[in-house]
């Protein structure tokens, strides 16, 4: 049905559309005084990955681990403190101003919250046409009516959606409006930041399927951020696991789900409940004591060492690098 399972190697052939190399991001946490230097929190440290055209990279991690931050950094919504971001081979780490605005035509964002991400005061037509207007492709929303109609059809919205306001739509439909807006500029790459987390199970599938169909039709590449491992499994070609600001494992989807290497990935996978009583009861679950480390006070060494059953002295002192264990499988652990 989709390209993904049959041809995992297909995308490899092409050059990556997006390459991230050694990316680090810091946030200014607070400025104690006007003259004093702001204190900084490291949100991301030394992140590297590639996304190839037409490919979906699933990004999974706990809340606060920095998923959104990666998305924002890649879209150049925040400045990086280190590392490089290459988009179609071009270094975009430091573009800003008008050049950045131009770049927006090629990369877009789909938001988590279908309710808050649409301006309640604008008609659907205006919302979807806005990218075209600000990039000077059309002069008014009316001019783009037909073009927008096509987008609405593509995203499965009713034909009469044009002149209605967002509040007249259900959550799933709103998410489609958001996707239509993202597609208006015909981007090659879309960051989808938890696009289905706020939706009910019964409609979640609609959006996931839509994203998959669009990918097939338009050859889009996705950075698909989610915390729900089951959904990620359905849409991704490859999956990256993020843990408190570091990538701990990145692999081809099936490899990761069937043969996780990092203890954190294992814990994550085992913690996901399966909606089948007997199976669920029979499952062996790894429940590790302890909490997710706090960004402001990251531990030394491997960030997982406090909760890890395999942790040794070394784990608490040295940061394990991300090493390649198989052609498409990298992991950051001293013990694997």
């Amino acid at each position: 049905m989709t390209t993904a399972p049959a041809t995992p190697g297909l995308a490899t052939a092409a050059d990556p559309i997006l390459s991230v190399r050694g990316l680090s991001v810091e946030y200014e946490a607070s400025r104690p005084g006007f003259w004093s230097k702001p204190t900084r929190v490291q949100a991301l440290r030394d992140i590297s990955f590639d996304i190839r055209p037409g490919e979906t990279l699933g990004l999974v991690g706990e809340s606060g681990s920095g998923k959104t931050t990666i998305g924002r950094a890649v879209l150049r919504r925040i400045d990086t403190s280190d590392g490089r971001i290459l988009f179609k081979g071009q270094d975009i780490t430091n573009v800003r101003g008008e050049a950045l605005r131009k770049l927006r035509r090629h990369m877009q964002l789909v938001f988590q919250d279908p309710y808050a991400s649409l301006n309640p005061r604008m008609r659907v037509l205006d919302i979807v046409a806005e990218p075209l207007i600000v990039h000077g492709i059309v002069r008014s929303a009316e001019e783009a009516r037909d073009q927008i109609g096509e987008l609405l059809r593509l995203t499965g919205l009713p034909r009469d959606a044009h002149d209605r306001f967002p509040h007249a739509f259900s959550g799933g439909q709103r998410q489609r409006i958001g996707i239509a807006r993202a597609l208006a500029l015909k981007p090659e790459f879309i960051v989808a930041d938890e696009p289905v987390s706020a939706l009910d199970v019964s409609v979640r599938a609609q959006v996931v399927n839509l994203l998959q169909d669009l990918q097939k039709e338009l050859g889009l590449a996705y950075l698909f951020i989610a915390h729900d491992l089951s959904v990620v499994r359905h849409i991704s070609h490859r999956v990256a696991i993020l843990h408190s600001g570091r990538l701990v494992e990145i692999a081809d989807r099936d490899t990761l789900y069937e043969n996780p290497l990092h203890p954190y990935t294992e814990a994550l996978l085992s913690a996901v409940p399966v909606p089948h009583p007997r199976t669920q009861r029979a499952r062996k679950r790894l429940i590790y004591k302890g909490d997710i480390p706090d960004v402001a006070h990251w531990p030394t060494g491997c960030h997982f060492h406090a909760r890890c059953p395999h942790a040794t002295e070394r784990c608490s002192l040295q940061v394990p690098p991300l090493v390649r264990k198989a052609p498409d499988h990298q992991v950051a652990c001293w013990h694997r």
Binding site: S30, P32, G33, F34
Partner: protein, 306 residues
């Protein structure tokens, strides 16, 4: 905390400095004190002598350097109007104003907290509508009018309270009430709306789900959490009273306070006294702000004093 206070004191110092500079320039433009202070018939020589005595005949820059020098020693020169050190004049008046503010604001707080909480229990209910109306009414009374009215009723007609002046506690009642009513109304409305807000918070639901009795939910949780905005506004009331807004009350009740003195200092173009008053008040405001921040910290553990 100590560091925080130090830093705030330093910032406050800058603010005070800025304020004083503005006042220095502004006061030089107010008018010629020699004309105002001396009788209409004073001769030119007398005027010159006067200006010389107060150093007003020197270039502005020179005066300014002197002024800054004296600032360091809290010396604001002699009040031209009272002919004694400006700081002495203030020392005599400031306590009266502070007492008035304390009485007025204290009364306002005592009125506002229970009434606001009462109104918030059932928004739109009878008690609420009555208190809101009273509150809005209190907000709408011009203070000078209210003061005159109170004097008419309580001092002249019923002769139960003194009409004006400073003295025993009976003298405090009318001015304090006049000062308190609008402030009480503002505070009351704030208490009401923030308690309503707090009562809608999830943690209040938790408290109710715990089976706590309503008074405890109201006073132990909602009202307590409503205190932060309340303190902000109460502090603001204090500051604005300090910043001269007592002058109307002081005028109506012949209250020997700082506001009235400031009015007179301006009337007499008493530069030195004016500078000293503004300086004192600015310091007062800065201090009040610091105290407020510390109070916030005591109430709300989430606030970091940094």
């Amino acid at each position: 905390m100590g560091l925080f206070i130090l830093r705030r004191l330093f910032q406050g110092f800058l603010v005070v400095l800025g304020v004083t500079l503005v006042v220095f320039v502004a006061t030089r433009m107010v008018g010629d004190p020699a004309q105002v202070m001396l009788p209409l018939s004073a001769t030119a020589e007398q005027r010159a002598a006067f200006e010389h005595k107060f150093g007003l005949d020197r270039p502005m820059a020179e005066q300014f350097v002197d002024f800054i020098g004296d600032l360091a020693t809290f010396d604001f020169g002699e009040s031209m109007w009272q002919r004694r050190p400006a700081m002495d004049v203030i020392a005599g008046r400031l306590p009266n104003t502070l007492k008035l503010i304390a009485a007025g604001l204290g009364l306002a707080i005592v009125l506002a907290l229970p009434l606001g909480a009462l109104a918030a229990i059932r928004p739109g209910g009878f008690a609420d509508r009555i208190t809101v109306f009273l509150g809005l009414f209190g907000l709408s009374l011009p203070q000078f009018w209210l003061g005159l009215l109170l004097i008419m009723v309580f001092a002249v007609t019923f002769k139960v309270l003194p009409t004006s002046g400073y003295g025993g506690w009976t003298h405090f009642i009318l001015p304090a009430v006049t000062l308190a009513l609008p402030a009480a109304a503002r505070l009351m409305m704030l208490v009401r709306s923030s308690v309503i807000d707090e009562l809608n918070q999830q943690y209040v639901r938790t408290a109710r789900a715990k089976g706590l009795r309503f008074p405890q939910v109201l006073f132990g949780h909602a009202l307590r959490n409503a205190l932060v905005p309340f303190i902000t506004l109460a502090g603001w009331e204090f500051i604005s009273a300090l910043a001269g807004y007592t002058v109307v009350v002081e005028t109506v009740f012949a209250w020997p306070g700082l506001g009235l003195t400031a009015m007179q200092a301006i009337k007499f173009s008493d530069l030195f006294l004016l500078q000293a008053i503004v300086f004192t008040v600015a310091i007062g405001i800065v201090l009040v702000n610091i105290v407020l921040d510390v109070i916030y910290k005591l109430i709300d553990p989430r606030i970091k004093l940094a």
